[in-house]
């Protein structure tokens, strides 16, 4: 699934480790989500959406 996580992270000038710490996951998990190799669970998707103050569908797109 495509997503805007990398762009959103870059806009805030956060490293992958920093974002991972805020989301309570590993840096490897952030990397896998950014590259579309891992689709986050619903709870994690909500945490990501809340962190960026956006809706889930504004970050993740299953039609891209």
């Amino acid at each position: 699934m495509k997503n805007r996580l990398k762009v959103l992270r870059a806009e805030r000038d956060w490293s992958q480790a920093e974002l991972a710490g805020r989301l309570d996951v590993s840096r490897q998990a952030v990397n896998a989500i950014e590259t579309g190799k891992h689709d986050p669970s619903l709870p994690l998707a909500f945490r990501i959406a809340r962190l960026f103050d956006m809706r889930i569908e504004e970050i993740f797109d299953d039609e891209l």
Binding site: A17, G21, R27, A29, A32, I33, T35, K37, H38, S41
Partner: protein
């Protein structure tokens, strides 16, 4: 900020990956050791490191959902090998019936060969190492495939 003992941070979660790669090395070493037979001390270290993955699956609290997905792939590979092993046991056990009949008619060569194969397949250490190696092979394969695909996308 309130003090939270035993809080699992990003570093602890990332370290889990390092621990598992150490375990992959232990599994490979133990498998090689079946054939070359190395020092007992090294074997003990390898067995200990191999335990990391299965114990992480059973009791781990530091694994995030991505690591769990990799471990799940490892479990699928291990399950596949276990399935093949059990089918092999079935065939060997079925073969015993045929062997016994054949043994009654022919010489003992086939019987001895069948017993040799069965002895290897029934060796608990061999089976444990093979299953653990399959587990780590699945884990490593999925991890490497993710890295490879990601590098191709960029």
């Amino acid at each position: 900020m309130p003090y939270k003992p035993n809080t699992v941070g990003e570093r602890e979660r990332s370290n889990q990956f390092v621990v598992l790669w150490f375990s992959v090395g232990g599994a490979v070493f133990s498998f090689a050791n079946l054939f070359i037979g190395m020092d007992n001390m090294l074997s003990a270290v390898a067995f200990g490191s191999m335990a990391g993955g299965p114990l992480s699956v059973a009791f781990g609290t530091h694994a995030d959902e991505y690591l769990q997905s990799l471990l799940k792939t490892g479990l699928r590979w291990m399950s596949a090998v276990l399935g093949v092993y059990l089918v092999a046991l079935f065939i060997l056990a079925s073969g015993d019936v045929a062997n016994e009949l054949g043994y009654a008619f022919g010489g003992g060569g086939a019987q001895r060969e069948a017993v040799g194969i069965e002895a290897l397949a029934m060796n608990g250490l061999t089976v444990a190492i093979a299953l653990t190696l399959a587990f780590y092979a699945g884990f490593a394969f999925q991890w490497l495939r993710d890295r490879w695909d990601a590098s191709e996308d960029e």
